[in-house]
């Protein structure tokens, strides 16, 4: 049997009418074909789902903790200057804090630039992987609406809607494939630079955390200095000498009691004030730890994206990215509680 004969016999049984040698589809077959096309398009569309990439990139584009920590690192020497002992012996320490404030301020722009570039890149990736970015459905709906609302043009509304539905589904299928290709191209082309950038950002975050830890220890030592004075016995607090008797002895005892009361009151105030400044520095350190953890999560996720650039829509990769996106969300939620 010739191939043409097979095709002809199959065509007659599978929905084609042969008239004058030209096959024309039967209406029922036409509908079935559209249905099949829609099914295939939907299935392929689902394959191109970049939601996990989008969610992870969106979460990564919101590394607010790094920016806050940078600002804290830059402004902290001025805060430390307020807490540093004001005795003459501490003059070199105050000078060192002033110099440190200037040195940190000099680095401020470069540090913030790293944040801006990383978040803008992840934001662009999230936009590129955006649910609506490549979808033409709403645009097609607009045209459909205009055609349905124009009966004078002689096109049946049912026909318009049917074609619009097909056009929308097929265009989504095509554009999703383009979208996956574009996201893949961005990660492939610039992934190495992003990995280097994130490695640098992690380095910077680790150093900023270490600086804030050092600042915290400095504040603890300043607090110790102001509280330490209360640990030494003062002259008037010594018991009255045996030679002191009568009214003079009573006056001495009274002065001793007042000195103790004043010392206790001052000690309490100093301790309270020190507790507040220590708590402030602890919060800064905790924020820096969260910022570092956030950068590490973004770096891990980006490494995975690069490693799996050819299967970004794969379920396993998507699950990993979703978990990392959840980790980033948790880090941010914990930061808000601080």
């Amino acid at each position: 049997m010739r191939i043409g004969a097979i095709e002809s016999s199959q065509a007659s049984t599978q929905g084609f009418q042969v008239s004058a040698g030209v096959p024309t589809p039967r209406p029922a077959f036409h509908i079935a074909r559209i249905g099949l096309l829609l099914f295939v398009a939907a299935a392929l569309g689902a394959c191109g789902n970049l939601q996990a990439v989008r969610d992870f990139s969106e979460q990564s584009a919101n590394l607010a903790a790094y920016k806050e920590v940078t600002n804290k690192v830059v402004s902290n020497p001025a805060t430390l200057l307020q807490y540093a002992p004001r005795t003459a012996k501490f003059e070199p320490e105050r000078k060192a804090l002033e110099a440190d404030a200037k040195a940190r301020a000099l680095r401020s722009d470069s540090l913030l630039k790293i944040h801006d570039v990383v978040t803008a890149y992840m934001g662009s990736l999230a936009n590129l992987a955006g649910e609506e970015t490549y979808s033409l459905s709403s645009s097609i709906s607009k045209v459909e609406g205009a055609l349905v609302a124009a009966p004078e043009l002689g096109i049946k509304p049912e026909t318009v809607s049917a074609f619009a539905k097909i056009a929308s589904t097929v265009s989504n299928w095509i554009t999703e494939a383009i979208q996956v290709k574009e996201v893949k191209a961005m990660v492939s082309k610039h992934g190495e630079s992003m990995d280097q950038m994130l490695a640098g950002m992690e380095d910077v975050s680790a150093s900023m955390l270490a600086i804030l830890e050092e600042d915290e220890k400095k504040v603890v030592s300043y607090a110790e200095h102001s509280e330490g004075g209360f640990s030494f016995e003062l002259g008037p607090e010594q018991p009255p000498p045996d030679s002191l008797t009568g009214a003079a002895r009573e006056r001495y005892e009274g002065q001793r009691s007042i000195a103790r009361l004043r010392r206790d009151a001052a000690g309490l105030l100093v301790a309270r004030s020190n507790a507040a400044m220590k708590a402030e520095q602890r919060t800064a350190v905790t924020s820096a730890q969260a910022a570092l953890a956030g950068v590490q999560v973004v770096r891990a996720g980006h490494t995975e994206m690069r490693k799996n650039v050819d299967r970004l829509t794969d379920q396993q990769v998507a699950a990993l990215l979703r978990r990392l996106a959840a980790d980033l969300q948790a880090i941010r939620a914990n930061l808000k509680k601080l």
Partner: protein
């Protein structure tokens, strides 16, 4: 030679800073132990000097960490330029897509204009022109 190598490595600099920081911690710990004794086994003068020395070491630690930051900033400069280009490319692609979507809106408005012309309504034509202008803006 080894020192120069270390100065280029932010992680190595952080390690060095950590060691110095631990020395400052040990100094602080010894002072606290002396102060905790009753009466303190340290004079007020020694106490103050000990805090000063601790902070002198901590200032050196901070200085090393600043150098580590400088190294990291230097390392990312090349990547930074490439990523700025990537951001620009992505934004252009999104802009192009928005232009395509705009073209659909213009097309929908043209249909409205065609309908108004077919129906011969002057007010409808004017409205459709307005809608077309808005879609093309």
């Amino acid at each position: 030679m080894a020192t120069n190598f270390m100065l280029d490595q932010p992680a190595e600099l952080r390690k060095a800073a950590k060691m110095l920081s631990m020395s400052a911690d040990a100094m602080a710990q010894a002072r606290r132990a002396a102060m905790a004794a009753d009466p303190p086994t340290i004079t007020p003068g020694e106490f103050e000097v000990s805090i000063l020395h601790e902070n002198f070491m901590r200032n050196a630690v901070t200085s090393i960490l600043r150098t580590a930051i400088d190294g990291a900033i230097k390392d990312v400069q090349g990547s930074q330029a490439d990523l700025e280009q990537a951001i620009e490319e992505a934004n252009k692609k999104i802009e192009k897509l928005n232009d395509i979507k705009k073209a659909f809106s213009v097309f929908a408005s043209v249909i409205g204009l065609a309908q108004a012309i077919v129906s011969g309504s002057p007010v409808g034509i004017l409205d459709a022109f307005g809608a077309l202008k808005e879609a093309a803006a």
